[in-house]
């Protein structure tokens, strides 16, 4: 079961610098660990995250095996117009998760 928690301010004034926070559930199995019986646990991580503001990409991050489970990302942008932030996480084994949040800019 995959899910995401997004924090985007509902309203902002034009030109405001706003903080965006995104948390998603993922095991982020690094691929270096073994089971009790010695077998390798295959890597299973999120490899890429992106955020689009009304279709324009404003933030992108590559993720690596050392990042802890349920990765939490926080970044800033300038509120320019009302619209939608679209978030996308892509990972191993075809993992894909999307979420979106609306903002009203006055």
């Amino acid at each position: 079961m995959a899910s995401a928690l997004i924090n985007v301010p509902k309203r902002a004034r034009r030109g405001d610098v706003i903080e965006i926070r995104a948390l998603t559930s993922h095991v982020m199995e690094p691929g270096y660990r073994r089971t009790a019986s010695g077998e390798m646990i295959p890597r299973d991580i999120i490899t890429s995250f992106s955020c689009r503001y009304n279709g324009r990409e404003i933030f992108r991050a590559d993720l690596f095996p050392a990042i802890s489970a349920n990765p939490y990302l926080s970044f800033f942008t300038t509120a320019t117009e009302s619209g939608t932030f679209a978030f996308e996480w892509i990972g191993d084994n075809g993992f894909s998760q999307v979420a979106s949040a609306a903002i009203t800019v006055e």
């Binding site: 928690l5 802890s68 349920n70």
Partner: protein
């Protein structure tokens, strides 16, 4: 090895403060945390435990088993029906003749009313459902049922808490009653108040139950941990909840 030295040092330094914690000195594990971990718990969009609460909410209305029934078909809106439930668990089960914790209650419900197989301890779905149910009591004071039938189990839980065990020969009380204002290596020794379970532990990188926490402590003192769902662990849970009577529920809590 360092841990052992630290434990021994902590014990040698400990003044004979023995005894249960006074009512007005009780503190949630929250108050021992650094401000950044507190902030993580306080904001529902940065608290990873809320991911399980969300999943639990979805499971609550998912129809399963032969009767094709969901939790919601009997219990309705959890916001009303489950409010305060976690605050009074473990509760006495007449059929079993002993207390059951929330996880066991969920599995009993599955077996009796949904004819569905039990969920494993620490499985995602059981944690999610437990977190969702417990979350409905957030902010409410822990209020164990005033049930005479619970008395012997409560007494046994207290006994287990006070009983030395393992190669290090330590009782829960040696740390959590007698030395809670000190440190063990870099970590604060807390009072073992079960206010936020299931909770997200940064060390675990996942949500975990009170039983997982208890088993971790037992392994830490090099004792053979009781199995998940064993009567001993439920009795301990019962004692810990009664010891924390009146303290507000925080589920899902975040801890280091």
């Amino acid at each position: 090895m360092r841990t052992v030295v630290a434990i021994i040092a902590a014990l040698l330094l400990a003044t004979a403060q023995a005894g249960e914690i006074a009512q007005d000195q009780r503190r949630s594990g929250y108050s021992f945390m650094r401000s950044d971990t507190k902030a993580m718990q306080d904001d529902d969009t940065s608290n990873p435990g809320m991911l399980w609460v969300m999943d639990g909410e979805a499971l609550w209305s998912q129809r399963i088993g032969a009767p094709d029934k969901a939790c919601a078909d009997c219990h309705g809106d959890a916001r009303a029906s489950m409010k305060g439930v976690a605050a009074r668990y473990p509760a006495f089960d007449k059929a079993l003749g002993r207390p059951v914790d929330l996880e066991q209650r969920i599995n009993l419900c599955r077996a009796e009313h949904q004819q569905a197989p039990p969920l494993d301890y620490e499985s995602h779905d059981l944690l999610a459902l437990t977190a969702f149910v417990s979350h409905q009591s957030r902010g409410m004071p822990i209020a164990p049922a005033n049930d005479e039938q619970l008395a012997p189990f409560l007494a046994r839980g207290r006994e287990l808490f006070m009983q030395r065990q393992g190669q290090l020969n330590l009782a829960c009380a040696n740390c959590h009653d007698d030395n809670w204002d000190k440190h063990l290596a870099g970590s604060a020794i807390t009072q073992a108040q079960p206010t936020g379970y299931p909770m997200y532990r940064l060390e675990w990188q996942t949500l975990g139950s009170l039983q997982r926490r208890l088993r971790g402590c037992m392994t830490g003192v090099r004792a053979q941990a009781f199995s998940y769902g064993s009567p001993e662990l439920v009795d301990l849970e019962l004692y810990l909840m009664s010891r924390a009577t009146g303290m507000p529920i925080e589920t899902p809590a975040v801890r280091p």
